[in-house]
């Protein structure tokens, strides 16, 4: 089988990989690049566990071929925290106990971040529809919605510098 060489950027870093024609971006991330933060819950675009951004747009990486990533910027959960500082969404998910098993969490965080970039002050309904493509079987979504609301509030008030301290305390 002949491989395809693909050049892309992942979380800002240039990455070159070789993949087969039928491999999805999710396969490539997980199996070739060791980025297992994106999860495969269905491989049919129904669960959102594999959520990444492609040029800033929220995408199910199980629906994109690896070869299609050529020339694009991919954002994954692994790029969400900066150094020791967690993203406010990450901190708020911990604070609000917005995860039980945590398998949906990377996808939901990526989706929530993308939502807040477009809409920094969403209503509860907007959050609920914004996350409707991400299944969570454990939490009933209540604490997830609250965590997103709280993170949005904190991000609007611009005091996310706090996250660094909390990240340290947790470690």
């Amino acid at each position: 089988m002949s491989g395809i060489t693909v050049n892309t950027k992942i979380n800002g870093d240039p990455v070159e990989f070789i993949c087969e024609a039928d491999e999805t971006l999710l396969d490539v991330l997980r199996n070739r690049l060791g980025l297992t933060g994106a999860k495969e819950g269905c491989s049919t675009g129904d669960c959102g566990a594999c959520s990444v951004t492609v040029d800033g747009r929220l995408t199910c990486s199980c629906l994109v071929l690896g070869a299609e990533a050529e020339g694009h910027n991919i954002g994954t959960i692994e790029g969400m925290a900066h150094g020791e500082s967690l993203h406010p969404l990450q901190s708020k998910f911990l604070e609000h106990a917005a995860l039980q098993c945590g398998i949906c969490t990377p996808g939901i965080l990526v989706a929530a971040k993308s939502l807040l970039e477009k809409n920094p002050d969403p209503t509860e309904t907007e959050i609920r529809f914004g996350l409707a493509g991400n299944l969570c079987r454990c939490t009933g979504y209540d604490k997830i919605v609250r965590a997103v609301q709280d993170a949005a509030k904190e991000m609007r008030s611009g005091k996310s510098a706090k996250s660094k301290a909390t990240a340290k305390k947790r470690a």
Binding site: M1, E20, D22, D27, R30, L35, T36, G37, K39, E40, G41, C42, S43, T44, D46, C47, A49, T76, I77, E78, M80, A81, L86, Q90, F93, L94, E95, H96, A97, L99, Q100, C101, G102, I103, T105, P106, L109, E124, T125, R128, F129, L131, A132, G133, N134, L135, C136, R137, C138, T139, G140, Y141, D142, K143, I144, V145, R146, A167, R170, A171
Partner: protein, 762 residues
């Protein structure tokens, strides 16, 4: 062994009851946490499974020769690679038959062969080259159909157990159970009103977002390692070793992070297959199920058909309750939770005359496995629907009717034993006083409620607690953490030792590092493994005191432990400055070496659990779609160790119940094939379907636990089906006796009622 130290009701907790951050949190929000499919081994192969396209077929011959010749294929296995080490009968043999079909394929999706290859595409190609010669047999998937005398038989040697005399003809009814007391016929004679109805519920899947995954390696000498996502890695170890015929000690199972289980990961599916492939290939093999495989070949819950008859006097006393519960559990006996349906159905009532007859039925569907409070939600749906209808007939508020007939301390339960202190009354009273109960309803809205019961249990746990020289603490537990239990374990250890939560860290040990632990099920982990943590901390405390005593040169019993310090017990013991945990730990190399606490036991005294749910639903009269507009869960937690995660269990269970009530169902075609094996067509609730789920935690201490803790994980899925059906009945005037209450079914019910010109049952 219930502890003799009953909870001091006025005990002031320092750590328990607070909401600290979980120890595995950062790994989980950064994508670092390693779940079942996230591990790899050098030289690993991809394992894939060939599954039966037929619902019922004899497997005449399997030809693997072409697949074996394909370049890149390193192993192909079939039933021939699983010689029977189980003795040919019993639950373990059924597990073997389920893991890899033997004479027959019993359902669409039943594993018939597997391959290990150097890439996923080669593995897929190899599956296509395996030729299976089937003789297709007639099949049956519906529980009522399966019970008919002329139904296609799954097993020629299945004679219903528990009937007298023993049946002469085989059938698909594996077992009959009967529970109850008093005389229901006499009881019905005393009734002024009797309601009798039949119900049906469809199978629902646990729907965990993480598909089953296993990474196995095994040498020709039988030494093996397995990494997998399971609710019980000791169970996986024991079952796999027995199926593969190796010593248990040769297999080391490491628990990955687990992406949801809800009962569905309390058995093995792909784990023995991965090991058998690894043995044959002599290389590591990773097997991950697709979502389609999860739906078709891992355990959904039972589908049911239920008849309920309840009689009451004019003043609202129940005189008799009778139920027949038929549970379809897939192709093997003992898998449907029929007995728990029968036992739990009437458990929330004080009844003089009650009878529950339950049938465990086999059919051509995947082998069912536990789903949160297995068997109880369906029975509760039927019973609590009839209760609501009776209340209306009586002209009594349903809540008052329930309170009047509620089980209480001293009630002889419907399954036999007499209740000790229980929290049902408290949840009902709390519901009655809840603002939700009095809130006005909008147009097309209705309100319903239901009370539910689950057993809870304890089981075997083993915990080790190690104290390194800086006085920090590692707790090794063997119960997989499926929803934040590591945090609770740390909290209980910190509480017991009188130290800060931050000083304690809990890990899940592999099967070779720690003694046996039961599967994380039955809401047992916080209760039983938590209690083992407390007792291990006490063991460590004794040793810490002994080190202090040796340092001071006084007898061990002259030293006590208080808030993180060893102190002389009294003035007579001597005048020594207290030694902190840190100081004792720092001195440990010179005072006798490492300090560790340990506890192993089988916990009992879990205590039963009750919950009451209130639900408001709005029906779109045009489409029949139900929208949950408000939902409240009230449940007794004994003592909430980490209230956020207790709330999370309440909310998660309620929403799973909402999905089951409104949308989730296994849909079979005439060909016996599952038609909706994906999240698009098997629709679990999404964020936009739901409101916030309000919770109220009641704390009625469990006398069987030193802090009063009760299991909370399962009861929350019991009342939603009935609460929602009752709300829909309130909104539409139509009593639905079949779930899910999918839009077409509700619409049809409303339209038929309109035609009939009034209220009716659908």
């Amino acid at each position: 062994m219930p502890l003799d130290n009953a909870p001091e009701s006025k005990r002031k907790f320092n750590v328990v009851g607070t909401r600290p951050l979980r120890p595995d949190g950062i790994d989980k929000v950064t994508g670092r946490a390693r779940f079942g499919a996230d591990a790899s081994a050098p030289g690993q192969l991809v394992g894939r499974i060939l599954r039966s396209p037929h619902a019922h077929a004899i497997i005449k011959k399997i030809d693997t020769s072409k697949a074996e010749k394909l370049a890149g294929v390193k192993a192909v296995i079939t039933r021939d690679d699983f010689p029977d080490h189980t003795g040919g009968s019993g639950g373990l043999y059924d597990t073997l038959c389920n893991v890899m079909a033997r004479e027959k394929a019993f359902y669409e999706g039943h594993a018939v062969a597997a391959v290990a290859a150097t890439s996923a595409s080669i593995a897929r190609a190899a599956l296509k080259l395996i030729k299976v010669d089937y003789e297709v047999l007639p099949h049956v998937t519906d529980v009522d159909e399966a019970m008919k005398p002329n139904a296609p038989l799954l097993h020629k040697d299945m004679f219903t157990d528990g009937v007298d005399p023993k049946p002469k003809k085989p059938s698909n009814v594996a077992r009959r159970f009967e529970f109850g007391h008093g005389d229901v016929e006499e009881g019905f004679k005393k009734a002024d009103i009797i309601v009798e109805r039949s119900f049906k519920t469809e199978a629902a899947h646990q729907g965990y977002i993480e598909p089953h995954a296993a990474l196995a390696s095994m040498g020709p000498d039988g030494s093996a390692e397995l990494w997998c996502c399971t609710q019980g890695h000791y169970m996986v170890r024991d079952v796999c070793s027995q199926l593969l015929g190796i010593d248990i000690a040769r297999l080391r199972v490491t628990q990955s992070e687990i992406g949801g289980g809800f009962g569905g990961k309390t058995t093995v599916f792909i784990e023995p297959v991965a090991l058998a492939l690894a043995r044959k290939a002599n290389r590591p093999v990773k097997v991950v199920m697709t979502r389609e495989e999860v739906f078709k070949a891992s355990g959904p819950t039972a589908s049911t058909s239920i008849d309920i008859k309840i009689g009451v006097t004019k003043d609202g006393m129940i005189t008799a309750a009778d139920g027949t519960f038929r549970y379809q559990g897939g192709p093997f006996q003992g898998c449907s939770p029929a007995e728990f349906g029968g036992m739990s159905a009437f458990a929330q009532f004080h009844l003089d005359n009650v009878r529950a007859v339950a049938y465990d039925v086999v059919a051509n569907r995947p082998k069912t496995i536990s789903y949160r409070a297995p068997g109880a939600p369906m029975a509760n749906f039927a019973v609590e629907s009839v209760i609501e209808e009776l209340a209306h007939k009586l002209g009594m508020a349903p809540i008052d009717f329930r309170i009047k007939n509620a089980a209480r301390e001293g009630t002889k339960s419907s399954y036999g034993p007499t209740y000790g202190p229980i929290g049902l009354g408290a949840t009902l009273e709390a519901a009655k006083n809840h603002p939700h109960f009095k809130a006005p309803l909008g147009p097309n809205q209705g309100r319903g409620m239901a009370a539910g019961f689950w057993f809870n249990f304890g089981g075997q746990s083993c915990v080790t607690l190690n104290i390194p020289i800086d006085g920090s603490i590692t707790v090794s537990v063997g119960s997989p953490d499926i929803g934040g239990s590591r945090a609770s374990m740390c909290m209980m250890v910190a509480e017991e030792l009188g130290i800060g939560y931050d000083q304690v860290r809990a890990i899940i040990a592999d099967t070779s590092s720690l003694g046996y632990n039961d599967v994380t099920d039955g809401s047992r982990t916080t209760f039983a493994t938590g209690m083992a943590c407390i007792l291990a901390a006490r063991d460590a405390m004794k040793k810490l005191c002994a080190r202090a005593a040796a340092t001071w040169g006084i007898p061990e019993d002259a030293v006590t432990w208080e808030k993180g310090y060893a102190k002389p017990a009294g003035a007579n013991a001597g005048n020594f400055a207290p030694l902190s945990l840190k100081e004792i730990a720092a001195a440990s190399p010179g005072t006798g070496g490492p300090i560790a606490g340990h506890h192993e036991y089988s916990a009992d005294g879990a205590g039963v659990s009750f919950a009451t749910h209130i639900c408001d639903v709005e029906i779109d009269p045009e489409t029949g779609r139900s929208q949950i507009v408000r939902y409240t869960v009230i449940q007794d937690a004994g003592k909430a160790v980490h209230p956020s995660y207790v709330e999370g269990q309440f909310q998660g269970g309620a929403v799973q119940g909402i999905g089951w009530a409104l949308n989730e169902e296994y849909i079979y075609g005439k060909d016996g094939r599952l038609q909706n094996a994906g999240f698009l067509d098997y629709r679990i609730p999404v964020c936009s379907d739901l409101p916030m789920i309000d919770t109220q935690i009641l704390e009625i201490p469990n006398p069987g636990h030193p802090y009063g803790v009760r299991g909370v994980g399962e009861t929350s899925i019991v009342p939603p089906l009935a609460a929602i059906a009752n709300a829909v009945a309130d909104a539409t005037g139509v009593r639905f006796t079949q779930i899910p209450l999918s839009p077409p079914r509700v619409l049809k019910g409303i339209e038929e009622a309109k035609k009939a010109g009034g209220k009716k049952a659908a």
